[in-house]
């Protein structure tokens, strides 16, 4: 058997300050509902914050919205939480992004640019889909 979508929640959030906190609260509630461990929930929460901030800061989306889809996956019981954070922005080429390092950032005028590295470090699976129709960060965490 393959994992199917057991339940799904969709959010459309305006790009306003701290909308990432609202998305993280929904993530927390869904992760708690599938009995994910508190430390793993906290990691999901932080990853959602980072993905929403990336959309807010870098998407250039004219509709000024972030769309977040939460899917609980499993055969019969919940096994995995998949979260898709989408914007209708200008897109980017993830493969040309240089991975930040602390040594480089300490010397650089711009200290920012850590979001994707943090998301990849906290989640079990991360995929970036980006093009002219915007960017979607697809990230998953096993229960």
């Amino acid at each position: 058997m393959t994992q199917g979508v057991l339940s799904e929640v969709e959010l459309a959030l305006p790009m306003v300050p701290e909308m990432e906190i609202e998305a993280s609260k929904i993530a927390t509630g869904i992760a708690e509902s599938i009995r994910m461990s508190p430390d793993r929930i906290d990691e999901v929460r932080m990853a959602v914050v980072e993905a929403c901030i990336n959309a807010l800061e870098h998407s250039g989306a004219s509709d000024r919205k972030v769309f977040v889809t939460f899917q609980v996956l499993g055969e019969r019981d919940p096994e995995k939480l998949r979260i898709m954070v989408h914007d209708n922005g200008v897109g980017f080429a993830p493969e040309v992004l240089e991975e930040p390092t602390i040594e480089g950032k300490l010397k650089a005028a711009r200290k920012r640019g850590w979001g994707l590295k943090i998301i990849k470090g906290l989640m079990d699976e991360v995929e970036i889909r980006s093009g002219v129709e915007g960017t979607t960060v697809v990230m998953s965490k096993m229960r």
């Binding site: 701290e18 906190i21 800061e57 930040p100 602390i102 200290k111 943090i118």
Partner: protein, 117 residues
């Protein structure tokens, strides 16, 4: 709803402890930086950031903490962190902050180590 940050300071012999309560985002990071630079102006070269009251941070806020680390390196000072949630500690390790600003489990151990250094 706004998740603001409250910052308080405990000035001790040769070291100042900065306590945070709330979300460390860009505004929160700026508030910590302001307090830190005031302490440097007062002559404190050893700072401890106690994050027991902070359950969530974002990378913009942490980027401002990197500016403080850079400043501490410039003046040959020391910055340490203590009482982090497991996720914040993991994030600091992912970013490599722990190489330049030690992370301690509790405040007593942090103060002892930073004062001895």
């Amino acid at each position: 709803m706004t998740e603001s940050l409250n910052v308080t300071v405990d000035r001790r012999q040769g070291l100042a402890v900065i306590y945070t309560e709330g979300y460390i985002n860009n505004q929160g990071g700026e508030e910590i930086a302001k307090v830190s630079y005031e302490l440097l102006d007062e002559g404190y070269k050893v700072l401890l950031l106690n994050l027991a009251g902070t359950k969530i941070v974002n990378s913009i806020g942490i980027s401002i903490l990197i500016e403080i680390i850079e400043k501490m390196i410039e003046i040959n000072g020391k910055l340490g962190f203590c009482c982090l949630t497991p996720t914040i500690e993991k994030t600091f390790h992912i970013m490599g902050l722990a190489q330049y600003a030690p992370i301690f489990g509790d405040e007593a151990a942090a103060v002892a180590q930073l004062q001895a250094a």
